[in-house]
Subunit: 193 residues, 2 copies
Amino acid sequence: MKKSLGPNTLVYPTPVLVVCTYDNEGNPNAMTAAWGGICCSSPPCVAISLRKATYTYGNLMSKKAFTINIPSEKYVREADYFGMVSGKKEDKFAKTGLTPVKSDIVDAPYISEFPVNLECKIIQVIELGLHTQFIGEVMDAKIDDTIQEKGEPIIEQIKPLIFALDSRNYYGIGKQIGQAYSLGNEIGKEINS
Amino acid sequence: MKKSLGPNTLVYPTPVLVVCTYDNEGNPNAMTAAWGGICCSSPPCVAISLRKATYTYGNLMSKKAFTINIPSEKYVREADYFGMVSGKKEDKFAKTGLTPVKSDIVDAPYISEFPVNLECKIIQVIELGLHTQFIGEVMDAKIDDTIQEKGEPIIEQIKPLIFALDSRNYYGIGKQIGQAYSLGNEIGKEINS
């Protein structure tokens, strides 16, 4: 049986995406967003949603660019901090000691220490209510050059974080369950047997 | 050091969302989408992106409604199958034996056996390129009534799937890493010590 929870965005999993921007003085800022994901393969686009009240909102509207940076498990404290404090009040890069690198492609910095960086140009801004959705076309994706050299899957080397809405806990990636575009074949077999 | 991969939607994690719709004859269909996520808290909205070529695309344009259904690990074969086969060719509910339940709120079915169902009304359609993004306002969220009665976090009871882009494998949720809006406090302490 199901019970109703009312209007609620009960989606699992949600990602932990660190969005980096420059302000009008050229100061780098980072904030953490769990509202976002991929929204198009060609052109490659990602979506992030954030509130107008954030410092990042003004930076996005002004610079029309951002980066998405995927923290690995070992940067969970930094990722959490980026989501707790406003860039209006603190220099978050100075406080964490992480390194902002100026993108050659878009007017935004990326985080050197995080294993994956997506450099994005804003192509659409969609007002939805409390949150505004920014759609960024990925102009380049960068990855640590130590990754992919080993035999194990990239996701297991990156060790990305997951945010659990209900308990507000971070989780890691669990065990491999099976191959996509393959497990589904067992459905037909069962019926035919 | 970073290496460049070119324009690429390298986002981790991506979710496994099963999107259900009715066609014009009232037949239920289900497809799996990994391009999507939460996009607004108020009104509560979720976004899913899919290709025009899918059967679901026509259903969405016609009915202006869908449900998002979160499969738990034990339904990984069904979720994979829903993403492999088109509703133009097969009755996916008949083949999997899963139960479509007609929503009382929107013109779409939800999957009885999946632990979470979001009933959504389409409020925006955004053409991006290969994919079209549908933004749905969540009119109601439903959850198995066996969930939340135990003490453990909801995400650990749901056991949602993660899709890994690179290896095209499904993963489960891993271990709890720590509390959000709390771990970040350690950053300040370190600096001050």
